[in-house]
């Protein structure tokens, strides 16, 4: 995948907000690329800056209090410096977004069909009737039964799962090259969650749309993502392919995340393991590595910010931000966290 030119390339992205208490550095030194047809997952807990990272791509964090640094190049446009008019053309058309809460993300006073038609007509000069037909097709495509009737439903007449499908249909209405899904399944129950994720994966396969999926749940992305970016306190602490992250996690924070997934293939622990402590305030983050205060493997070098670099020789795309050597990491994660590192699937003889 690294051979193709990236669709989106984010470099040293920094976002800070001036608040009454001081400057909050929500996102710092975030760099990643997105290849065509790739599903990239950005994982982290609340306040890690994962949502801000993607909303910034859409220009949705712009405001008097926000300051940006770095670049986010899509095609030939830097999304950070693009004018509001340029962004308007890109939003919904080239980059579309699905949000966390489908219950509140649709305008309650308009029919769902009209809300999708509105988007199509914002970007393409087509008649209402054409846009309406396309909308019905889209609703059908995302798995809404009786789409021809449902197109005239109001949001409150649909369930959460159906509304999220409407959001997906809306996001796909102009055939975007990137679909950003910000916690698309967090507000849904588990069965619907699986259906929505499956639908997103199918859409990538059928429409060639690249997907950035933001979540706090590693379990959600295990199935569908190609690559994973792990964020902590505004910075990327590790990134790599799904296999690299799950089978050979390098950063102690990733170990903690993996350790707190409930596993069906292991005996149930008495308590769900968790990472002790809580994320630092971004008003006054700790010096050096942001994870240092919670890290059991901290040593004196952690006072300096570790660079995001490749440390695993055989995997040049597997980057992490930790001063420990690869050998130390591999030995410590087994001892300290026991549960970490899933067994690699056995090669089955053909």
């Amino acid at each position: 995948m690294s051979s193709t030119t990236p669709l989106l390339s984010v470099k040293d992205l920094a976002v800070s907000f001036a608040t009454e208490d001081g400057i909050v550095r929500a996102v710092d030194e975030v760099s990643y690329t997105l290849a065509p047809r790739e599903i990239l997952a950005i994982v982290g807990e609340s306040g890690s800056g994962k949502s801000v990272t993607v909303m910034t791509l859409m220009g949705l964090t712009r405001g008097v209090n926000a300051r940006f640094g770095g670049s986010a190049v899509f095609g030939s446009t830097d999304l950070l410096t693009a004018s509001e008019e340029e962004l308007q053309r890109i939003r919904g058309n080239d980059i579309a977004m699905i949000f966390q809460d489908p219950m509140t993300s649709l305008d309650p006073v308009y029919k769902i069909g009209d809300q999708i038609i509105e988007q199509i007509r914002a970007h393409e000069h087509v008649s209402k009737a054409v846009a309406r037909d396309r909308t019905i097709g889209l609703l059908d495509e995302v798995g809404i039964p009786r789409a021809r009737e449902r197109v005239d439903s109001y949001p409150h007449e649909l369930s959460g799962g159906m509304r999220q499908r409407v959001m997906i249909a809306m996001a796909l209405s102009c055939n975007p090259s990137i679909l950003i899904a910000d916690e698309p399944t967090t507000a849904l129950d588990v069965t619907i969650q699986a259906q929505i994720l499956e639908r997103i994966k199918q859409l990538r396969d059928s429409t060639d749309t690249a997907v950035i999926i933001v979540t706090h749940d590693l379990g959600v992305v295990a199935d569908i993502a190609d690559r994973i970016v792990v964020m902590y306190a505004g910075r990327i602490v590790e990134q790599g392919t799904v296999d690299e992250i799950f089978y050979d996690p390098q950063h102690p924070y990733t170990w903690g995340l993996l350790g707190s997934i409930t596993r069906l293939d292991r005996e149930r622990p008495r308590r769900l393991p968790s990472i002790p402590g809580s994320p630092p305030s971004l008003l006054d983050p700790p010096k050096g590595c942001h994870f240092r205060p919670r890290c059991p493997h901290e040593f004196d070098r952690c006072q300096e910010v570790p660079p995001l670099e490749a440390h695993v020789g055989e995997a040049p795309g597997h980057l992490d931000r930790c001063w420990l050597s690869t050998e130390e990491k591999r030995s410590r994660r087994e001892v300290g966290d026991g549960q970490i590192g899933l067994a690699r699937p056995q090669e089955t003889p053909a």
């Binding site: 890109i90 949000f99 993300s105 649709l106 305008d107 409150h156």
Partner: protein, 304 residues
């Protein structure tokens, strides 16, 4: 609705019966009436009957349009039919005027929230709310009407006889009545917009690639006007029903409100009764209209 109107009429009638207003028969009979005349009148008008019979009679007359005023001895029904036009003119014009300015100022204020212009408008709204209508009305009519002679000094010309004069006579009353409401409503619109603008669906609208104007007018404004419109309907109903007593009196428009004010002053029970029912009817009517409008504006209410 009927129950509400009934209760209101009974209470009003009761109040006017316990007020030490003297005997209506005395007033009807005139200055130099003999006790015999008064007795006749008392009998003819039914003042010697029990209170509940009087109430019943009055109500009957209200609804068949034969109610006669005690003090002016004119037909109350005719009077109200005549006076309703200035009142409607005043209410419709003022309501449109204040809503228009309230939306403009409220929206501007919300978009500039926290900046100097917002603070200035906040202060201005407070001034508007604090100025009593009789005072503003008097100032307007004195300086612009009497002194400068730009506008007529009170009075009313009907729309059908001369539309230009109609509007000309109403500009000052509209303004005087609107100022208070613009103050109140612009604050309402502002806070409602600020609530709405942070809603998730507004973010969705922006992420769809809609222009700023479309997001604001179609998604933010429509949603934020829902609570404001309901209040608007109620205030409008109250003014139609004669709620703008002060404005009508200051500018001598001869509307329903002014009629009510005059009747109360002379303790003239029949028109007061009729007007009370009339006002209550409009308040209740517009309450219903507001409910219907609510359902139209907000589809979530239609089903439930």
């Amino acid at each position: 609705m009927i129950a509400v109107l009934f209760a209101i009429s009974v209470i009003t009638f009761a109040i006017f019966n316990v007020i030490p207003n003297g005997d209506p028969a005395f007033r009807l009979a005139g200055h130099s009436a003999t006790p015999a005349t008064i007795a006749t009148i008392r009998h003819e008008w039914g003042f010697d009957k029990p209170v509940y019979v009087q109430y019943e009679k009055t109500m009957e007359k209200i609804f068949n349009g034969t109610l006669i005023s005690y003090s002016t001895q004119t037909n109350v029904d005719t009077e109200i039919r005549h006076d309703i036009w200035p009142t409607i003119s005043l209410a419709v014009g003022a309501a449109l005027l204040w809503m228009f300015f309230a939306i403009c100022l409220g929206m501007y204020s919300a978009l500039k929230a926290g900046k100097i212009s917002d603070r200035f408008l906040t202060a201005l709204a407070l001034v508007g709310i604090s100025m009593p209508v009789f005072w503003v009305g008097a100032l307007l009519s004195y300086y612009l009407g009497f002194k400068a002679g730009i506008f007529p000094n009170g009075g009313y010309t009907s729309l059908t006889s001369n539309p230009v004069q109609w509007a000309w006579h109403l500009i000052l009353p509209w303004t005087a009545l609107s100022i208070l409401f613009i103050g109140v409503y612009s604050r309402l619109v502002r806070s409602s917009i600020l609530d709405t603008i942070n809603e998730d669906f507004v973010r969705t609208a922006r992420s769809k690639g809609l222009g700023q104007r479309q997001v604001l007018l179609k998604h933010v404004l429509r949603n934020s006007l829902i609570p404001v419109i309901s209040l608007w309907g109620l205030d409008f109903g109250a003014i139609i029903g004669g709620g703008a007593i002060v404005t009508e009196s200051v500018f001598n428009l001869g509307g329903v409100g002014q009629y009510a004010a005059n009747s109360i002053q002379s303790l003239d029970v029949p028109p007061v009764m009729a007007l009370t029912i009339f006002i209550a009817f409009f308040v209740v009517l517009f309450n219903t209209i507001v409910d219907i409008m609510y359902a139209w504006l907000d589809p979530r209410i239609r089903l439930s």
